[in-house]
Symmetry: C2
Subunit: 282 residues, 2 copies
């Protein structure tokens, strides 16, 4: 199977490394806007480097859009133009964190598009941070653009499996609602916490006392800005819906914490219930 | 210096271990309600075990209330009754996460009370989790009940230094406002996130996709319930004030995310500003 990776950072690089390890039946050609990831991958024998998207895509069975979310979106039409009459031959997938917008765009461009989202990551970005076992045992969400094109879906699932991932077929709407809850809402919350605390007038005198709790809760806000922007730009309504529910929970906490006399039993019950819901730390 | 530890979990145990390492000038006697920590400490040579608070406190220069926040509060009058006419001789301190309520209570009980809050912790609780270097290099907030009693303050600071900590003298109000921001607000936020997401109807289908971001943001809500209850019961107004500010930040995010057309530049600028405020991940 000939795979063209457009983008070779953490995710693209980890796909390349995993496929290189999976065996000779996978041939990977990689292109990226800067060319630095592909150059490194060529040097270390992980993938062939292509100088242009055209060179990478020529003869590919599977084209993987592996840039940041907004960059993947912008590549859709470009890939369609490059494939031209070969649109029926190649399957196109992506790794972006939201699925409805890009799957619709792939469909509209006439591509055999199957959305993908490997649920894996690391804090550090770039090809240098990529590892062959990033996807091992992790869900790899697969969102078929055309449910009847089972061959296209199979091709993407085969790559996910070759990377060690666990394909999970979902609709774009179900995926985007789910990740809004467990991934994108936490990002917004982390940013809102930082805005509130680190943006307050007394931050310079407060920050010296910060410990593990603060580090953990501000971590997502300290992550990659382009990734976060792409996520929120393409999943705003689903995130807003979860955020509105969270606002209600906060209103409840405001009432409990602002009481003239603390209701200790109520505070304890509420914390205990949250702990039960999430499961204790292992 | 003879130190009586009332409570010998993670914090009390780590104080005992640090003082045992600090040398023979520190003698530690420990009591706890269950007796299990002191029995272990006696067995491993870290501290003497006392069967009652009276036995532990007899002859102590420094009494350390080292239980969960509400347990420390309840010990204040008991310690005052046990000390009786020796109230002028012994200095009493604590390790609770909030300072205004307990320092006022110590003062009202006629104790030479100096509030303390070592800014250190681990995820696991109990004497078994205690380590001698828990406080190494960390701030140890010191809140004098009587600013004129410098000898009392010195005695607590000397213990903090012997434990490897960095004494930081603050007023109770400044301390409680600061930790409301960097420690207690994150706890409430984590609980509210869990209530919203893990309490939603679709949680069972969503949880399988959860990854590092969710784990990090739900971590505080999965911590010790008694600790959290004591914190929120004794610092409600300060936490509520920060939470109200956070609610305003969330309202701003709701407006940005709910827009008909995403304003990509605005989303990017807001995430970039939060990242700048908190500092990137090192």
């Amino acid at each position: 199977v000939r795979v063209a990776l457009l983008g070779l950072g953490l995710i693209g690089g980890s796909i390349a490394r995993a496929l290189a390890r999976a065996g000779a039946s996978w041939q990977v050609v990689a292109w990226s806007p800067t060319g630095s990831g592909p150059a490194s991958a060529a040097a270390d024998g992980t993938a062939q480097a292509a100088g242009t998207p055209e060179d990478a895509i020529g003869g590919a069975d599977l084209v993987v859009l592996a840039g940041p979310p907004l960059a993947c979106l912008e590549l859709v039409e470009r890939v369609a133009a490059i494939l031209g009459p070969n649109r029926d031959r190649a399957v196109v997938t992506d790794v972006a964190s939201t699925k409805a917008v890009i799957v619709e765009r792939g469909r509209a461009a006439g591509l055999r598009f199957v959305g993908g989202h490997p649920m894996a990551g690391r804090e550090h970005a770039g090809y240098r941070a990529s590892v062959a076992d990033l996807f091992a045992g992790r869900p790899w969400v697969v969102v078929p653009g055309d449910p009847d094109d089972t061959e296209a879906r199979d091709r993407v699932e085969a790559m996910a499996v070759a990377c060690g991932g666990r394909p999970v077929v979902m609709t774009a709407a179900n995926h985007d609602t789910a990740v809004a809850a467990i991934s994108h809402l936490p990002l917004v919350l982390s940013a809102a916490l930082v805005e509130t605390v680190a943006g307050a007038a007394d931050w310079s005198s407060v920050r010296g006392l910060a410990a593990g709790g603060w580090d953990g809760m501000s971590r997502l806000a300290r992550g990659d800005v382009e990734m976060g922007t792409g996520i929120l730009a393409t999943n705003g309504p689903a995130v807003a819906e979860r955020l509105a529910a969270l606002r209600d929970a906060i209103d409840g906490w405001l009432a409990d914490l602002g009481a003239d006399e603390p209701d200790v039993d109520r505070l304890r019950a509420r914390l205990a219930a949250a702990r039960r819901l999430a499961g204790p730390i292992e």
